[in-house]
Symmetry: C2
Subunit: 295 residues, 2 copies
Amino acid sequence: MIWVSGWKLASAVSNAGGLGLIGAGSMYPEVLREHIQKCKKATNKPFGVNVPMLYPEIDKIMDIILEEGVEIVFTSAGNPKTWTSWLKEKGITVVHVVSSVKFALKAEAAGVDAIVCEGFEAGGHNGREETTTFTLIPMVEKELNIPIIAAGGIATGKGMLAAMILGANGVQIGSRFAATLESSAHQNFKQSILKVKDGDTKLTLKELAPVRLIKNEFYHQIEALYQQQPTIDEIKTLLGRARAKKGIFEGDLVNGELEIGQIAGIIDEIKSVKIVFEELIHEFNASKAFVHRLS
Amino acid sequence: MIWVSGWKLASAVSNAGGLGLIGAGSMYPEVLREHIQKCKKATNKPFGVNVPMLYPEIDKIMDIILEEGVEIVFTSAGNPKTWTSWLKEKGITVVHVVSSVKFALKAEAAGVDAIVCEGFEAGGHNGREETTTFTLIPMVEKELNIPIIAAGGIATGKGMLAAMILGANGVQIGSRFAATLESSAHQNFKQSILKVKDGDTKLTLKELAPVRLIKNEFYHQIEALYQQQPTIDEIKTLLGRARAKKGIFEGDLVNGELEIGQIAGIIDEIKSVKIVFEELIHEFNASKAFVHRLS
């Protein structure tokens, strides 16, 4: 949710009854501080910060989180051992994002409070095992004792209930909130989410860090490069820097990296977070009623 | 379900309350006839035949299906227009297997009675869009008016209920039945299913026809060949002929093509079809009760 989830989106989600997350991955440390401070002013409900552990100045990020009194941290893209104890000692709840059973077990062993299990269909950075939400959740549920938050492919109340039946205790929703009024993504990117149909996203750049994105011109350049059996350095050169910012935040739909999940295929309107929540809860209850009616 | 689903498995499934399918893809025409005849003797319940439309002697297969009075045909891997009208004129129910919204719409337009929507996590041959069950079902449900049977990742009663909440009217279960006593797969292959963990299967051979298989020595040979930027002919040469038979039916776990779905990760015992059905139904009902208890 880099370039998407700032204080506006996070506070709106928390105010609507969810747990809003500020995505630190796209923020300089002092920008993150500003977002945390604004988020605290915009909601009196709990919210969290997602920290990709590959972040170069992660020490500064963690210090700010502590100084600003953030109570919940989601860590991702790295070893959960590195920061979990430190955060837990400070009284902070730690949730780690994984995409496989193996890393779920490592996170549990590292002492995290809960895990996010993210399936292959999820947008943005993803795992190498390519395990889908439908199969990952029951596999993880069989092995773990801590709470499981399902992610990847969930954008509706139906998806929420289905994930819970498969073994999740809760869900993390990304793509649906990227296309809200409160998302800090560029209008062009939000519009491009609405146009996504089945087959329009792809997991690529697997040699670097697998990422699911919209198959735009930039994606086709990657594919063309793959035809020439490139070195890792050649792939890195094509990727360059700040591709996600260019696509998601600046709205360059041609050259940007447009990270979104497969479930964008059923997202067809930009809405307020409040409306999205009302619909999620209404559909979740309607799905429960559907189950009640099953003979 | 080639080399797995003969008359024994199909009749056991039908007797247990499901719709058993004979997989014609791995059978010579007269072998199929024998399986249909034996299946009719073993059950008085309806059963069907799955016909991959790339089958070289498909005319003979269809004539046998007609002569033997098979009432339900599942077609896959081809254009649903080719045979649907012919089958429907004969009073046969036609279900077509798809892995994308686009092909689901084509199948509906061709006049099929229902579709099987198969997600990326499914074993064996699969689609190019890589759409997962969790996202494919709601996307198809939004567009189609005919019944939807979900496939891919479903091996439990929880999976059945989750798929129905996502929009499916029923489910097709493959991998779970490959590891039953009645499956015609080799004992070695059945044992290898039990050993599969998260990340042990992969969708490969995408240039020919994408297939999900266990990452055994044969798979690693494919991966090694890919490092050399092979031509399609070189890939075809490596694949050779009858790889699936070698692995699934003859039990060659080194050189065979071991087709199975991701959900094999939660399959840990070879059971009778009867026991599998009892467990499916028990867990399906328990999942319904779980939903009833949700506040």
